[in-house]
């Protein structure tokens, strides 16, 4: 593992900085890892940063679909690892953002086609030319997860306010601590404020009580996410989407900006209460 760069990235497009590698993971499947990866990629690009999003879910790729780049794939991650193409050839430029690239996963192989050291090598080659490398981890705690974790400077754990998702997230936090990759930060996805108010859903406080890690984003449940994913236009491209705003705020917090959680507030003071729970009303 080369020198890690956990410092804040500088101004957009600053050539002197080396990329930060962010790995998005969760343990449990279906909590929104791929959606989060795609949206952070788009949000960073919109903020003017140079970004690569990488799909580490070999055999079950779908980051390309959510990014709307499925029909442009020629080479994939396994082709790079096995020397059938140059890294640049496997990087697909986004339709709208010239500084946003996707490295797709292979659809036909499995996780053993890539090793943790392959992942470290590939990210090392990209670090000088980009500000952020966002890696979409597969569900589970096996090889694919270890591949995604190996090059990580920072780990973002996505979870839903459900007991089973939090249980898996807790397991992941333990594994990340054991691998010395922490501290992980938490993204709480698909939060329904009215259900929390009725006591039917775990609150952010309930979740952080168990996980005891810093929360960097609370993404409300938003019906626009599914059609956006289906059409390949991440919600972060839509300034009216509540989830899109939340993902953009996470990206801004990751760049070091202080974005209060109360910005997300939309119905009756819920998030201002959240903000007070996390002290000072911002993520940092």
């Amino acid at each position: 593992m080369g020198a890690s760069n956990t410092a804040q990235s500088g101004t957009p497009g600053n050539n002197k900085r080396r990329a930060r590698v962010l790995t998005v993971t969760s343990g449990k499947g279906g909590v929104g890892k791929t959606t989060t990866t795609a949206n952070l990629g788009v949000a960073f690009a919109r903020l003017g940063y140079r970004v690569v999003v990488m799909d580490a879910d070999i055999g079950l790729r779908n980051l390309d679909v959510v990014m709307g780049l499925e029909n442009r794939i020629v080479y994939d991650l396994v082709d790079v690892v096995e020397g059938r193409c140059k890294l640049r050839q496997a990087m697909i430029k986004h339709k709208q953002f010239p500084d946003l690239y996707l490295i797709p996963a292979a659809q036909t192989r499995d996780k053993t086609a890539v090793s943790p050291s392959n992942m470290v090598e590939i990210t090392q080659k990209l670090r000088d030319e980009f500000d952020f490398i966002v890696i979409d981890s597969p569900a589970g705690i096996e090889r694919g997860f270890r591949n995604a974790l190996a090059p990580a400077d920072e780990v973002l754990i996505v979870t839903n306010p459900e007991v089973s998702a939090v249980r898996d997230a807790d397991r992941i936090v333990g594994l990340i601590e054991a691998a010395n990759r922490g501290p992980a930060q938490l993204i709480l996805n698909r939060v329904k404020m009215d259900m929390i108010r009725r006591g039917e859903m775990l609150s952010p406080k309930d979740v952080t009580d168990i996980l005891a890690i810093q929360i960097i984003g609370i993404v409300p449940d938003d019906e626009s996410v599914v059609p956006s994913s289906n059409s390949g236009i991440p919600v972060a491209m839509n300034d009216k989407s509540k989830a899109g705003i939340a993902f953009t705020n996470i990206a801004r917090r990751l760049t070091g900006e202080k974005v209060p959680f109360s910005v997300l507030e939309n119905s009756g003071g819920f998030f201002s209460r959240i903000a007070s729970i996390f002290g000072g009303g911002n993520a940092n």
Partner: protein
């Protein structure tokens, strides 16, 4: 030097203490000991043997030779007493119980003190201390006690032959007295385990959301697990 100076044998209760000269040549001592046992085998028969080796540093191969010599005569070493670190370590390496002759001098050496049981009550007591939160999927096993400074999250598990102390929230699975010790206890600052076992007994936490965290102790009383506030135990 006569035999008694070299090998002093004293009966205490049902045990025999054999003190071996710290200065005489080892081979000479063991030959003398073997001869005396062979002469008075009825006297030695079935006795609990304590071997006092004084200040002599007895390496592992010599001690194991002595043990073999005694075992061939049907005798088993119950305890080795010594003021030599070499000897004590050799005894421990051979799974023999060992104690210092003069605890105050031996224990002045901090490195040595660490390996020594200090009093009979503590003899054989071991434990695991962890200063971290145990997260889901983590299991801690110990043949002694377990102390956790941190939370035990749901999905984590502790299995201990002895007691379990949680300086934090106990929300996972815990089994104290796992080899059947019904006197084992589980203590936690906040006791809401998924499942709690002591020896062969098992219980779960009541689903009471209005509870306030308080230090509690779980133990077996009258054939069931009871959980009490720590206050009541003082």
């Amino acid at each position: 030097m006569n035999d008694d100076d070299m090998v002093a044998i004293k009966g205490i209760g049902e045990g025999l203490t054999i003190s071996l000269s710290p200065t005489e040549e080892w081979l000479h001592i063991t030959e003398t000991l073997a001869r005396r046992i062979d002469q008075q085998s009825a006297f030695f028969n079935g006795a609990k043997l304590t071997i006092n080796l004084g200040e002599r540093p007895v390496p592992k191969y010599e001690l194991s030779g002595l043990r073999a010599l005694l075992e061939r005569r049907g005798l088993v070493i119950d305890l080795v007493i010594s003021d030599s670190r070499t000897t004590i370590e050799a005894a421990q390496a051979l799974d023999l119980r060992a104690e210092p002759l003069h605890p105050e001098t031996v224990l002045a050496d901090p490195e040595f003190a660490e390996t020594m049981p200090i009093s009979p009550e503590e003899a054989g007591t071991t434990g695991v201390l962890m200063r971290r939160t145990l997260r889901s999927g983590r299991t801690i096993r110990s043949d002694g006690h377990v102390i956790i400074m941190g939370d035990v999250n749901p999905g984590a598990e502790i299995i201990a032959a002895g007691d379990v102390f949680i300086w934090g929230r106990m929300r996972g699975n815990v089994h104290a007295g796992a080899y059947g010790d019904e006197t084992a206890v589980v203590c936690a600052l906040d006791m809401i385990p998924t499942q709690l076992r002591i020896a062969g007994y098992i219980t779960t936490s009541p689903a009471d959301k209005r509870r306030k965290p308080r230090p509690e102790v779980a133990m077996i009383r009258d054939g069931q697990i009871v959980v009490e506030a720590w206050d009541n135990n003082r």
